[in-house]
């Protein structure tokens, strides 16, 4: 009887230990993440007309792309391209930094795909995004 109880106790311990360990959190309170967030926030004012016009869309890999160059006037096209490039540099750096800051560089891909879904989820109506198959859809 005592042996059975002990076995049960051991089993319980073995089963609950992973649950305790699984409660790890993603930490985003680092200076590098704050800097990137601020940089993207400042850029958003310039990018938002392009999101609204559909010139720029949200890609399935958590970045942005100039999906319809014709929606941008010729004189603004270079500026729009520069905004997209700068935004993508920040986004790539952000995903990498979050993975590194949490001690798991290998999480970068999962963090990227989490962001990809959340960007689309929080996008305004009328914005364009890439669906799972790579095609463009309007929200």
């Amino acid at each position: 009887m005592k042996k059975l109880l002990l076995t049960l106790f051991a089993l319980l311990l073995a089963l609950t230990a992973p649950l305790v360990m699984a409660a790890a959190d993603i930490d985003i309170n680092t200076p590098a993440i704050a800097t990137l967030t601020n940089s993207m926030q400042a850029r958003y004012g310039k990018l938002s007309p392009y999101y609204a016009s559909g010139a720029v869309g949200l890609t399935r890999d958590g970045l942005v792309a100039l999906r319809d160059a014709n929606a941008v006037s010729l004189k603004d096209r270079q500026a729009a391209n520069a905004l997209v490039t700068a935004e993508n540099n920040d986004r790539n750096a952000l995903y990498k930094e979050i993975a590194n800051a949490n001690g798991h560089p290998e999480w970068e891909a999962e963090i990227r795909s989490t962001f990809a879904q959340r960007w689309v989820q929080k996008a305004q109506g009328g914005w364009w995004y890439q669906d799972a198959g790579g095609g463009w859809a309007k929200k």
Partner: protein, 64 residues
């Protein structure tokens, strides 16, 4: 007593690899929360903006 130490050994053998494995597990829910926080900041989304339905909900206390 001998049985107990055996049990401890078995427990340790089962528990330790579990900890290592689970620690590598990606915390999806926490990552989602972190992503939301950053996106809200970048796009300056106020809490009231993405839940407009809540404000429109009828208040049963005031109708009586």
């Amino acid at each position: 007593m001998k049985q107990f130490s055996w049990l401890l050994l078995v427990t340790a053998l089962v528990t330790l690899p579990a900890c290592v494995t689970i620690n590598i597990y990606f915390p999806a829910a926490s990552a989602e929360k972190a992503a939301d926080k950053i996106i809200d900041e970048v796009w300056q989304i106020k809490p009231s903006e993405h839940k407009p339905a809540e404000a429109a909900e009828p208040q049963p206390e005031t109708s009586q």
